[in-house]
Amino acid sequence: MNFDDIKIGDEITEGKHPVGKYQPHYYAGASLDFNPIHIDPDFGKMVGLGGNILHGLCTLAFAAKTCVDYAGGDPASLKRLKARFSKPVKPLETVIVSGKVVAKDGDTASIEFGAATNKGENQVLTNGIAEFRKI
């Protein structure tokens, strides 16, 4: 996809990101965020989260991948990335990122995106915005 081919109203290609049992551990190692809510199911239960939960920034990384892939694959084109972490993502769920081009002018295109999991209708990312610059 070239910048010029991005059109207002276009749906982006849906991104499916399966979250393996140990995904929070992989992300903890890569990001150095070892908060026990992410890596210790017992601790997660104790603090009322029902188990360990994936890092919000990992879910956001999945959304970034989906949006950047749609917009041509060069991360240098990503100008802004924003979202609210509405509900936690748990291991063994699949994060599904979807979105739509809502605005475009000569050098910027804006995508509104959200993410849900396959378990129920949990919206895990809301108010998502990814803005791209023409490069």
Partner: protein, 145 residues
């Protein structure tokens, strides 16, 4: 327990981080990336940047460094057991390349209460070794009551 608003404006020491080539690949793999611009030097050489670059949210490492310091700040004394990430906003100016040295400044920009929850927001600004802006970010955390 409410977080004291007197900490709004508190700054943390500039955080310096050198972007490592293998760390970029490690991070990219951990988030399930397959984009050769992050992972494959040979392919990246022919691409727009001449070498591998970091995925956008790699900023969690270099820009998130001082945010981690804030979360564990004894004076602020956040209840980490009840803390979750609420919102994130990144504004990107330039890609991060292997060997770049990033310097990030961090300030607590807001502390508020709503429906029995506390909200703490940090703002970070990262520049590279050339003094050019790389990422500006807002990090909002929620402490569940």
């Amino acid at each position: 327990m409410a977080v004291d608003k007197k900490f709004i404006g508190k700054q943390y020491a500039p955080f310096v981080y050198e972007v490592g080539r293998e760390k970029i690949k490690e991070f990219a793999k951990a988030i399930g990336e397959t984009n050769p611009l992050y992972l494959d030097e040979e392919a990246a050489k022919k691409g727009p940047h001449g070498d591998i670059v970091a995925p956008p949210t790699f900023a969690s490492l270099y820009a998130g460094g001082p945010v981690g310091e804030m979360l564990y700040d004894k004076e602020l004394a956040l209840n980490l057991m009840m803390l979750v990430h609420g919102e994130q906003d990144f504004e990107f100016f330039e890609v991060a390349r292997a060997g770049d040295t990033m310097t990030t400044n961090c300030v607590i920009s807001d502390i508020s209460e709503k429906s029995g929850k506390s909200f703490v927001t940090a703002e970070t600004m990262t520049t590279n070794q050339n003094g050019r802006p790389v990422v500006k970010a807002r990090w909002t955390f929620v402490i569940r009551g």
